[in-house]
Amino acid sequence: MRIESAVHFAAALVFAPLLLGIINRTKAFVAGRTGQPLLQPYFDIVKLLRKGAVYSRTTTWIFRLGPALGLAALTLALAFVPFGGAPAPFAFDGDFLLVVYLLAVARFGIVAAALDTGSSFEGMGASREVQFSALAEPALLLGIIAVARGAHGGFSLSACLGAIDGQAWAAFGPALALAAVAWLIVFLAENARIPVDDPTTHLELTMIHEVMVLDHSGPDLAYVLYGAALKMWVLGALLAGVLVPVRTGMWAVDSAAAAAGMVLLAVLVGAIESSMARLRLVRVPQLLVAASALSVLALILLMR
């Protein structure tokens, strides 16, 4: 393992909740509020870790396993995602399939825990989460295949994102842009951001992700929050890998460019959340099918 890969992995573990803080600060700035501190997600997680957990008598061990399983799967997925041109700690041909299915395993953990509570409310959220992510998955996978095809680097995430440079953009710009837009939609959907789900509402019939974690408390809720931050970092690093084609070979420059890309992405998400309303629930599948369509279009443009 190269030293910069380890540094990137550690940095991702440390800075992942910061993305949430940046998004919240952006929304507060646009709305003219003072808003919560930038480090509020860290405070929340630390506070929750020091609390005890409360378990309902109807739940079983599945409920306790869910958050831990989710966090473990997402941490493992993070180890396969390259950052700023440097390879990830682990990489092999076809590892993007593993990453996508690790995301699915994490989702399975959270959904199973939600169903285990026996609450019809959480069951509804679980059903929606699974429905929408089933539609988002083809968009993500087809987009990765398109990018791998365009970059000619190989079929591991590290190889194909590492090969995206200015030349690749000059040659396949339209296709890469399409894949990036598709990934942005997937990013918003998977992280329960606004056109798909509203992260600030509780107890509303149209919400998806928040409703599934209502019964978790203490360290379990901290795992869920931290896992959500890691998931945002995983998908965000994929997006930044395509959109920031700075590959000078100098570690500091590439990493700084990618980090700036992540911050800009968080600001962009904040701007989207400030300027859009959530879509009606029946329109969400349409948006995700459109994302898949963009990915297929990108793939076709690159296949010819």
């Binding site: 296709a175 099918v289 279009l297 010819r304």
Partner: protein, 214 residues
């Protein structure tokens, strides 16, 4: 210039898919206007470059498709007082998937088609044009409102114009302007027709016209 042409064709394909995914008529009209402007830009980046002929052609196409047609269609829409394509024969999700299938078919066709040797080597123009033609046809047959059908007709025409650019380098200016004039008259007449249909029947659902008896 190949990169620019490919970029324009890719943008046209995205507009095609967006057209299939939306039900808002104002948005449809705006989409087809943008597509018309893109088609108008194609002659400027063609191998013959910036000559008097291409500039005149581009100006005429952009003025007609980017400004006049949208104005006519918006007026017709306001006159008929419709905002949305409420119940198309094929819903928007399925339309998108079928659009992708059409896209695949047109890339397959574009690779098979025997073209004259003079055809440019810009890879995306031929399949993109075929796809635009097919999607225009699909919009015409799968939507009920007369305005959306006119939009489909315009998309079809955009596809044919792009195709013409790809295959034939030197169509006389007179013929191209004649074709534009034809399209203009067609859209003009259709806009008047839409107005009369809505005056007569209080709706512009073209499918219900087939039930009329003489």
């Amino acid at each position: 210039m190949h990169g620019v042409t490919d970029g324009i064709m890719a943008a046209m394909l995205v507009l095609n898919l967006a057209l299939l995914g939306t039900s808002r008529l104002t948005f449809c009209i705006r989409l087809v206007a943008v597509q018309g402007v893109l088609v108008g830009l194609l002659p400027l980046v063609s191998p013959s470059g910036m000559t008097l002929r291409t500039v005149v052609l581009a100006a005429a196409v952009i003025a007609l498709k980017g400004a006049v047609f949208p104005r006519l269609l918006s007026n017709a829409m306001r006159g008929a007082d419709v905002r949305r394509e409420v119940e198309p024969y094929v819903g928007s999700g399925l339309s998108l998937l079928l659009g992708l299938a059409l896209l695949g078919i047109s890339f397959w066709l574009g690779a098979k088609l025997p073209l004259p040797a003079a055809a440019p080597e810009v890879a995306l123009v031929v399949p993109g044009a075929i796809c635009t033609i097919l999607i225009g046809l699909f919009v015409i047959v799968s939507r009920k409102k007369a305005i959306t059908q006119v939009v489909g007709y315009l998309v079809l025409e955009n596809g044919i114009a792009a195709f013409g650019l790809a295959i034939v380098q030197d169509v006389p200016l007179l013929i191209e302007l004649g074709i534009l004039l034809d399209v203009f008259v067609a859209v003009f007449v259709m806009a008047i027709m839409i107005y009369h249909i809505s005056q007569e029947f209080d709706h512009i659902d073209a499918d219900r016209l087939s039930a009329l008896k003489g």
